[in-house]
Amino acid sequence: MMIGEATDTAPEQPGAARLPLDAIRADFPILERTVRDGKALVYLDSGATSQRPVTVIDAEQEFITTANAAVHRGAHQLSEEATDAYEGARARIAAFVGASRPEEVVFTKNATEAINLVAYSLSNATFADPAVQPGAARFRLGPGDEVVITEMEHHANLVPWQELCRRTGATLKWFGVTDDFRLDLADLDEVITPRTKVVAFTHQSNVLGTVNPVHVLVAAAQKVGALTVLDACQSVPHQAVDIAALGVDFAAFSGHKMLGPSGIGVLVGRYELLEQMPPFITGGSMISQVFMDRTTYAAPPARFEAGVPMTSQAVGLGAAVDYLSDLGMKVVADHEHELTGLALDKLSALGGVRIVGPSDLTDRGGAVSFVVDGVHAHDVGQLLDDEGVEVRVGHHCAWPLHRRFGIAATVRASFYLYNTPDEIDALVAAVRKCQEFFGVAPAVGAARGA
């Protein structure tokens, strides 16, 4: 079924462009399955990985059954077609996120590898031979230099910078998080200083849902000539993102969180920077010339794509981007905004539930983390699972952030374009049932606003 065929979604809700929810859900075969003895699947874990529409599945299958070959190798027809499919996907993904040109898009295994690519390229620059790589000098890091991150980072945008600092002798600094779950930028000029070489931060927290003021951090970084690295894993899938307009030097995101396959991530980098950067992984495809004693590198993005790359995954991600583009990211974002508002209101109204994240919808995305008083997050997750409600529990790869708030683990519900208001009700009902099971349900009327 084509997107937009159905028109019967939520007629009681007025408004401009809305998502055709029934038609969208029909595009995602997995949503029809049941779990745990026949319970309807209520999938609220898209922040971890999203489900895939048939167009993505079909695009991968079509590629494999008609054009599979190693890209950028050989002169045969299949190789040509495979290369066209691969590079065509690159161009569409570049356009989708506002990269200035397709060559600014580097395919990686996942977003974690994309961030590691930058971190390792910087340390490779630190040890580069100036005679061979004169351009690498500007990326050099050493004692006295500083790398700035934030306390709300996913481990993927934290550990690589810790390790880079360890290797180079640079110092790691970070912005804290305020009690109302926002980045604490009060001492901006003390954290970002002329010693700062890199500022790496998340666009949207995978735990709190907080959307960070990218322009403020970019302006501060640019003032001191520091590179900016944006973790866009939780923003690119859920809102219109224009990387060139944001002004960041690098942005990383993953395919599997935006309706695409796993096994593919993306690094978008400003071309003039990529051009000067040393490679991360070396081998075939990334070379210009190879001699027995030395090698020169290919131009980006090939320089950063050593070996035979993932191809059907790139094609699948291209199809995912087409799917999202057809719907329009504004409509997707508005839909998720509505679901987030419903979840915040209804969970808070239960009583005994504390939201770990901003309680208002300003600069806030659709990750709703919470704790249920008297019940550990793992136990909440287990009870929700028994009702067919699939959420994430734990520290969501943001352990320091949880430590900051003195919480061992949270429950996280995260939404996407295929989720419905009814599923928010299912979540809330399951949380209530969980409270009753563990004997911690507040008396009716004791809840906030009752």
Binding site: D37, Q382, A408, F438
Partner: protein, 160 residues
């Protein structure tokens, strides 16, 4: 609803009123975490005697975690305190076998006592680590004591 089978009353009782909780003197202290969820236990073991004659004198702990990990650590202390070490390890082995069996092994109540209440955990692979957190900490702590005793013996032997 399979939740009553997973969260049996025995488990909820141990969770609400954990036995032998708190940290007391021990011969070794370990800190174990479940890196997927951040659950943590600090656990101390005190042995009476050495070698195969050692008896578990005390197991004390301070833990943050879900009901399964908290209750399981509480049950562990009931089962092993006062037992000769080899016997405690038999219980540990039986418990480990049961919770990692995906439901194939129901457990011997004569060996596991309240521990058989955790048979239901085996059907939820994501929770097996929770059930084993305290038990693995106990295993680690006793191994540290044994290693120390072994090296002490070796040194004594070398001095002779």
């Amino acid at each position: 609803m399979q939740m009553e089978q997973l969260y049996q009353e025995i488990i909820l009782d141990h969770y609400r009123t954990p036995h032998h909780a708190g940290l007391r003197d021990g011969d070794a202290e370990v800190h174990h975490v479940n890196p997927t969820c951040g659950d943590e236990v600090t656990l101390r073991v005190r042995l009476e005697g050495t070698g195969p004659d050692a008896v578990v004198g005390d197991v004390s702990y301070d833990a943050v975690g879900c009901s399964i990990s908290q209750a399981s650590t509480s049950v562990l202390t009931d089962l092993v305190i006062g037992k000769p070490l080899p016997e405690a390890f038999t219980v540990l082995g039986e418990f480990n076998t049961m919770v990692t069996s995906r439901g194939a092994v129901t457990g011997d109540e004569d060996v596991l006592g309240d521990g058989i209440a955790f048979a239901g955990v085996a059907k939820y692979p994501a929770r097996v680590k929770c059930a084993l957190l305290g038990w693995m900490a106990f295993k680690d702590a006793t191994a540290q004591i044994s290693d120390r005793q072994d090296s002490a013996h070796t040194q004594t032997g070398a001095q002779r």
